[in-house]
């Protein structure tokens, strides 16, 4: 599965393959963990090392708290 996680991270999966792999990753804590660690490695190699402190989870938590949803017509660049 981790090879697929690596390909998912890099956008290398064909569209037919993407949805089932993403579903598997989303439902498997080990695969989600791998996905985030691959990101941590890449950022570290680019000189952007950060603490492993749940930053992504806090973003996702706030999105849930605000019940963020896709809004057709919303301009993300508007002040």
């Amino acid at each position: 599965m981790s090879l697929k996680v690596s390909e998912l991270f890099d956008g290398q999966l064909a569209s037919a393959e993407l949805e089932p792999v993403l579903k598997n990753v989303a439902s498997d804590p080990g695969s989600r963990d791998r996905f985030t660690i691959y990101g941590l490695i890449g950022d570290s190699l680019r000189g952007n090392s950060t603490p492993d402190d749940g930053y992504s989870l806090r973003i996702l938590q706030r999105m849930r708290e605000q019940a963020a949803r896709i809004e057709p017509g919303f301009d993300p660049f508007a002040d």
Binding site: G11, G30, L45, N48, T50, D52, S56, A68, R69, F77
Partner: protein, 196 residues
């Protein structure tokens, strides 16, 4: 360099209502967006707040993304806009006493204000572990990973440069990541389900 957007399929899936697809994009880009936003604001807490605003605005406006540019470029522009708008609103609070161009060189990833020494130490430990693992990594694996992650080369470009099949590029990058990940795990500790 080839310009195909590697995120386009994930974005399409997110646009069709798959929340996990957008979550994957959050996980993938949150650190890069934080680094960018930290050029505009001083305190780590403000950086994090603006990063959250950026992703929320991107999600709300996702149907407006047409793929005219890469998703990351679009996200980067939203982050710039969010940061500039915030600084205009509260310049003294967010900027402190230095101009943005002065802070770029001083920026320490993830610890832009140095308020929390533990965060600084943890970031340093991660960087050290990655560099130590990289030094021990088989050279052909390291070459593939560095070309992709640092040089920004695409898989097909790496295949041509290293004269290897595309499938070998995939497995080398994967094996390189696994090698480093296994050596990083003792530093990270058991955080399963606490990252995404």
């Amino acid at each position: 360099m080839e310009n195909a957007d590697p995120d386009i399929e994930l974005v399409r899936l997110a646009q069709s209502g798959d929340a996990h697809a957008f979550e994957a994009l959050v996980v993938k880009y949150q650190r890069r967006i934080a680094r960018h936003v930290a050029r505009y604001v001083r305190r780590a807490v403000d950086v994090e707040d603006l990063v959250q605003d950026t992703f929320i605005r991107a999600y709300r406006g996702l149907s407006a993304f047409r793929g005219d540019s890469a998703f990351y470029s679009w996200l980067y522009r939203i982050a710039t806009n969010v940061a500039i708008t915030a600084v205009k609103r509260e310049p003294m609070v967010l900027l402190g006493d230095s101009a943005p161009e002065e802070r770029i060189d001083a920026f320490e990833p993830g610890v832009s204000d140095g308020d929390d020494p533990e965060r600084h130490v943890m970031a340093g430990q991660i960087a050290d572990a990655v560099q130590r693992a990289l030094a021990r990594l088989q050279p052909d694996l390291a070459a593939a990973l560095m070309l992709y992650e640092v040089e920004g080369r695409s898989y097909p470009e790496i295949a041509r440069m290293l004269e290897i099949p595309l499938g070998t590029v995939r497995t080398r990058i994967f094996r390189a990541r696994e090698f480093i990940a296994k050596r990083l795990e003792p530093v990270l500790g058991s955080q399963r389900s606490r990252r995404w």
